[in-house]
């Protein structure tokens, strides 16, 4: 193995592993996991179920020492993943162990909108952990099954790129790329969009409207209730923090019921809603809860305003 990128133990090392097929995947991943175990590090692997099963088999007697998380579950909405890593880092750092993670958020089979969000998530990982405790995160990318644009983006979002045979600095890495990504717009909705304007005093009516629309779309009651809560929290944020008036838009798009809240406010912290606020902090839980309860949450904000798009899959 040619290793031209060095590892700085005091820093967050964020590395993309490009692989072709199962054998190549294992050839790249197993040494990373075993090195971690040999060094006494806490190894946490977040992969879709099939990959977890394969890794467990290959690791054999070493498997019990590894914490396995189902990425399709914990990262169904990519907005939840940073919170999972932050919790693992805090837990293991408190216990005096260095963390070594494997996370494949952009796994094959993801919807286009989810892959867009995975890209922002990868950028925000650098922002979230670059100035904190040192740990390593390896993010596998399936070169055979992922769209080319996703693979290209991984070069921009990871300072280190590797294969089973090489480990190199990524020349394309864009430090601080999350700033522009967080400010860029989301794809415009299709034609049949229901819109409404809400202001102070309209939150109950807004959440009822969203719930009624979600129900009329045929979403199960569990999803209707989650969307009703999301509507209440997001409209409340507008009233409390963004000038008091906003727009809600609802439409159907490619197997999803989409509800979007827009207002004139600006969110300065791009990690908003991804980390649980400290217990004593008064606000900041609404968007965190929406991220935890809804299928896909996309937040974008700039000087032109803030948009939160919530998609629920049928």
């Amino acid at each position: 193995m040619t290793a031209t990128a060095t590892v700085d133990a005091d820093r967050f090392e964020h590395e993309a592993l490009f692989y072709r097929g199962d054998a190549d995947y294992l050839a790249g991943l197993l040494p990373f996991v075993r090195d971690g175990l040999d060094s006494g590090e806490a190894v946490v692997v977040a992969e879709p179920r099939a990959r977890l099963d394969m890794l467990r088999d290959e690791l054999a007697d070493d498997a019990p020492a590894v914490e396995f998380l189902d990425m399709a579950e914990i990262g169904a909405n990519p907005g939840r993943i940073i919170g999972v890593w932050a919790a693992a880092l805090a837990r293991h750092t408190r216990a005096g162990r260095r963390l070594r993670g494997v996370g494949e958020p952009a796994f094959p089979g993801r919807r286009t909108a989810e892959l867009v969000e995975c890209r922002l998530h990868e950028m925000l990982l650098n922002h979230a952990f670059d100035d904190g405790s040192g740990w390593r995160l390896l993010c596998p990318y399936d070169q055979e099954h992922l769209p080319r644009a996703v693979l290209q983006a991984a070069l921009h979002t990871h300072p280190v790129r590797s294969t089973s045979a090489t480990r190199l600095p990524s020349d394309a890495y864009a430090h601080g790329g999350h700033v522009a990504a967080f400010a860029e717009g989301l794809p415009a909705p299709g034609d049949a969009v229901l819109r409404g304007v809400y202001g102070p005093g309209d939150v109950p009516a807004t959440r009822r409207t969203v719930a009624q629309w979600a129900r009329s779309c045929g979403l199960p009651e569990k999803h209707v209730e989650a969307l009703e809560l999301a509507a209440s929290e997001l409209a409340t944020n507008t009233i409390r923090h963004a000038g008091g008036t906003g727009t809600v838009a609802m439409w159907l798009d490619n197997g999803a019921a989409v509800v979007q809240f827009s207002d004139a406010g600006t969110v300065t912290d791009p990690l908003i809603g991804r980390l649980i606020p400290p217990l004593e902090q008064e606000g900041g839980r609404g968007l965190y809860l929406v991220n935890q309860l809804c299928d896909l949450v996309q937040v974008r904000s700039s000087g032109q305003g803030t948009t939160v798009r919530v998609s629920t899959w049928f």
């Binding site: 939150v203 959440r207 569990k222 209440s232 409390r240 217990l279 609404g286 809860l289 935890q292």
Partner: protein, 284 residues
């Protein structure tokens, strides 16, 4: 469960009635007052009218021979001045002592209970008195359920303003008001406190005030939320802080009838770290 909800007309009289009656005009109050009192008479209860406004309503009633009713003790009246003189400064505990004695006296004299009609808008209008009024309303609700036969209709003028009306309406099981003055209601049902309706960030401060007015047994408090249609993060945090305050006094809190979503919210927001609350299915 005890009858609760928003009504247009006076419900049929029953034990432990506790109605909040917001009225816009005198004629509407007169009609409701007569109906409420007639229900009490039919049940064999003594009537007690508190406040000049309802006494006047009673005096103008064409339905009964008031003099005869007063003569035989079936009806008593109390002006606010007399009420203060009888029970002292407005304190919930003193109110309870007064009405408990009056209820026992009524049952001791052969009545089935005491049915009170009180017009206490002036107390609700006074911001300095309102918190104590809310505490008394909750105590009165508990007494209606657990006492010796006490029922009440609390009449409030509609022009008190939205905040005062929301405060008083939120502590009655049955409310009549022009429009939704409070999106939630809290009342006593058996050994539990029932919270129903909707709570969001814009009324969570009120929920905090109302919960803090609730009486807590040392053995623990059961908060029943099966009829809670909606609660957001702010509302649930109020419940957690209330539970934490009780926990600090070694009083445990059990929440019954919570939806799957409410339980999930509690877990996601890690509110067990604020207060160790037990969630369980409701018995009834």
């Amino acid at each position: 469960m005890r009858t609760h909800g928003l009504v247009e007309d006076v419900p049929g009289a029953g034990p432990a009635d506790h109605l909040c009656w917001v009225y816009a005009d005198d004629a509407a109050l007169d009609r409701a007052a007569r109906e409420f009192l007639a229900g009490g008479l039919a049940r064999g209860e003594r009537l007690l009218c508190v406040g000049e406004r309802v006494i006047e309503s009673l005096l103008t009633s064409p339905d009964h021979d008031l003099a005869a009713l007063i003569e035989r003790g079936a009806v008593e009246t109390l002006t606010l001045a007399e009420a203060y003189a009888a029970s002292g400064p407005f304190l919930a505990e003193q109110q309870l002592a007064y009405y408990d004695a009056a209820t026992r006296r009524a049952t001791g004299e052969g009545y089935r209970g005491l049915r009170v009609l009180a017009e206490v808008s002036d107390l609700a209008a006074d911001p300095g008195q309102r918190a104590e009024l809310i505490r008394w309303e909750h105590m009165a609700d508990d007494y209606a359920v657990h006492g010796a036969g006490f029922s009440a209709m609390c009449a409030y003028r509609a022009d008190l303003g939205p905040d005062a009306l929301a405060d008083v309406a939120s502590v009655h099981p049955v409310v009549r008001a022009p429009g939704e003055v409070s999106s939630f209601r809290m009342f006593v049902d058996g050994d539990r406190i029932v919270l129903c309706g909707s709570v969001d960030a814009f009324c969570s401060d009120r929920l905090a005030r109302v919960l803090s007015a609730a009486q807590a047994d040392d053995d623990g408090v059961v908060l029943h939320v099966a009829d809670l249609a909606f609660m957001d993060v702010a509302g649930l945090r109020v419940v957690a802080r209330w539970a934490a305050g009780l926990w600090a006094r070694a009083v445990s809190v059990e929440v019954t009838g919570a939806s799957a979503l409410l339980r999930r919210m509690w877990q996601v927001l890690d509110l067990d770290r604020v207060a160790p609350v037990t969630f369980s299915a409701a018995l009834a």
